[in-house]
Symmetry: C2
């Protein structure tokens, strides 16, 4: 029996996805939970998430795929391979969005994977390995903490009970929300056996590819990340009556710390970034000196050493500021994620596919975390980035050109064809 | 017919309030809407506010006072004078508290006034002017904006419809809340004729009197105040993907502005203070660069010139910071209150009473606004301050010694006796 790939390769190189169909699917899903400014508001496990999931499932059933829902709501749609004993090539991303999210973050990876399945069917391609689409539950983490929980549970990082116990701001548990939309499946989330490979197509969410007029980003690694909760504690008091030099104002600590946080990131730039996205002020009344303020910090760097150094600077800074201002301080680190390097062989596959398709491409480090980070811990994994307009993401104004989406999906298609192994007809 | 005061003065100087009874009333009211840390949580027009009001009304009715409720819920309890044609000496403060409020802020002034009425009755004193207790609605302004609305409406600053239209965070209107607790009275809030004089006893809410071991503060004036809402507008984006030098992070503007705000106050100290009590961050997610942040600022100074200068510095600073960080900025000034000087004659009355009673006393500038500020615009007004422990107020830990409360009430009593005119028996 001859090696199938060598024979098939000649015709395979001409295969392309249907970019118009992909774009049309993207626009249909964007209309589910539309945001007021043209983006999407499709929080995980919401009614709109259910509508989007149902549509995805029906599309995959139309292709003859076998659907499986696991106990944290991850949706799998498998297109059989010729060898029933082989693990699948897994491809996908997430359909949930931020509260003021865009139309492409996550969705491009799921519908890009759907377009690969559709193209395989339409072009009557048989693969040795099954090709399986996945829609991960709660990538964003904006309704339930933590994010990336579906892929994390699949990778064995969280057990199902832990994932289901998380509560949203209204006190609704993840488990109850899952049941309410009918997506608490019967099989455990943790994988039985890892996939053969994992590919995720995603928008860059940054400005680099567009700035350099590149069609496709070959993602070599993902930045590491640390989250910090720094809580300063002072003494509540009347805004008018305590002289400045007698105050123990927790907000003064927060302001000084924020300046420090930005300085730390700039000192480690380029590469490092830092964000203060939320502040919790007690009691939060204009004419009351804040007694307690929590500063929610996100710091990232592709270098593990830099991240460690940034954490030390933050911890030292917080202690110093508290001492200067006569405040109490507590620093918690809810998440430390090490930088992730993707599988060299799969990264080369992506780069080769982009080159053979004639796309301008470059290596890129992902600034954002992705489900692929959890997958990289259990299987060979890689990512493909498509440019997005002005790097805007997590924002309703998020946008991309249809030809960028097509290019990303074509690279995904060819990476899948090579990795799953095309069987000659 | 001889002048009555001269005859009565000899005995009047020996009159004292019942400090034990005053303290006991304070503790009873403190138990209505108790806070978890020993303070009070009695938001204006809440069910607990109603219970406290009902109790006050029943206590005043027990004294034979005529009760009047006006259309914004101000409660008046009048003890008749011997001359029915004369306007009353008005005394009081407010029973509502901050969300995490103390047991004495406002309450001391109302129950101190009640103790004056009780002592007048018990000691069988007749006065030429009526003596009238008042409980002003919504001094704190923490549930409905603005605060000081009851006295403001009485002084003619707000019409009743404006006062009643304000809505709380749950969308409930002031007018509906007023009706719900049964305190929307039939008479218009604006006074027909100003009172003869207005006295308000209040805790200092600052540390000066206790630090200097003084029993009574003679309040000569109230600081002016300006509120600012500074809103920076940038561009929302993913926390991991935008290099630091390409960000338009509204929180960076807020942090830098807050440091500026504190610097401005320190530059004008002693006397000036500045507080940032609340921040509104959009979208308020840790891993999203804030697209918009509103900084709620409270600045005060006893000097009108200093206040004006501070505003200029703030406006200039906000504009500069926005330019430095490539942000949009809008500065609104919802409130400008000029410093208030109290009536020299009444201030002298208070000082004389404190001296004749043998209390250690000193002049003091009020850092906080009070209903007395609105009253000073329409009638001779003055305030008496009692020390509070460590200057802590707007805080459940707010505390005072019973002898301080007694001293304050005795000074109030004697200021009332002198101003209302004691009629010899």
């Amino acid at each position: 029996m001859p090696e199938p790939r060598a024979d098939a390769a000649k015709t395979v190189s001409n295969l392309r996805v249907n970019g118009t169909r992909l774009w049309s699917s993207l626009m249909v899903v964007a209309g589910i939970g539309p945001g007021p400014k043209g983006g999407s508001h499709r929080l995980t496990l919401s009614e709109d998430d259910k509508v989007a999931r149902d549509l995805l499932v029906s599309w995959c059933e139309d292709l003859g795929c076998a659907i499986r829902i696991d106990s944290v709501g991850n949706v799998f749609a498998r297109r059989a391979g010729t060898d029933g004993t082989l693990p699948p090539v897994l491809i996908g991303s997430h359909l949930d969005t931020q509260p003021h999210g865009g139309r492409f973050d996550g969705v491009l990876g799921v519908l890009g994977a759907l377009e690969v399945l559709r193209s395989l069917n339409e072009q009557d391609i048989r693969t040795r390995h099954p090709v399986e689409l996945v829609n991960w539950t709660n990538e964003e983490g904006s309704r339930f903490a933590p994010g990336l929980v579906g892929s994390g549970a699949y990778a064995g990082l969280y057990d199902d009970d832990t994932a289901c116990a998380s509560r949203d701001a209204d006190g609704i548990s993840f488990g109850d929300a899952l049941k309410a939309i009918g997506y608490r499946g019967p099989t455990p989330a943790k994988h039985d056996a890892p996939p053969h490979a994992y590919f995720e197509l995603h928008i860059e969410q940054g400005p680099l590819l567009e700035d350099q007029e590149v069609d496709v980003g070959v993602v070599t690694q993902v930045q590491g990340l640390r989250w910090f909760d720094v809580t300063f504690t002072g003494m509540e008091g009347h805004a008018g009556t305590i002289p400045m030099n007698q105050r123990r104002d927790a907000m003064m600590g927060a302001a000084r710390l924020m300046e420090r946080v930005y300085d730390i990131a700039v000192a480690h730039a380029p590469g490092a970034v830092a964000t203060v996205g939320a502040l919790t002020v007690q009691p939060g009344s204009r004419n009351v000196i804040p007694g307690s303020v929590n500063v929610a910090i996100d710091m990232r760097s592709p270098s593990a050493d830099a991240l460690a150094e940034m954490e030390v600077k933050l911890q030292t800074g917080a202690t110093l500021i508290a001492a200067e201002l006569n405040l109490g301080v507590e620093v918690r680190v809810p998440i430390r994620v090490a930088p992730v390097a993707f599988d060299v062989k799969l990264v080369n596959t992506v780069r080769r596919a982009a080159g053979q398709l004639g796309y301008r491409h470059r290596n890129i480090v992902s600034g954002a975390l992705h489900d692929a980070c959890h997958m990289a811990a259990i299987a060979p994994a890689a990512m493909i980035f498509s440019p997005c307009v002005k790097g805007i993401s997590h924002n309703e104004a998020e946008d991309m050109r249809p030809e960028w989406a097509t290019a990303g999906a074509n690279v995904l298609y060819h990476a899948v064809l090579e990795t799953a192994g095309v069987v000659a007809s």
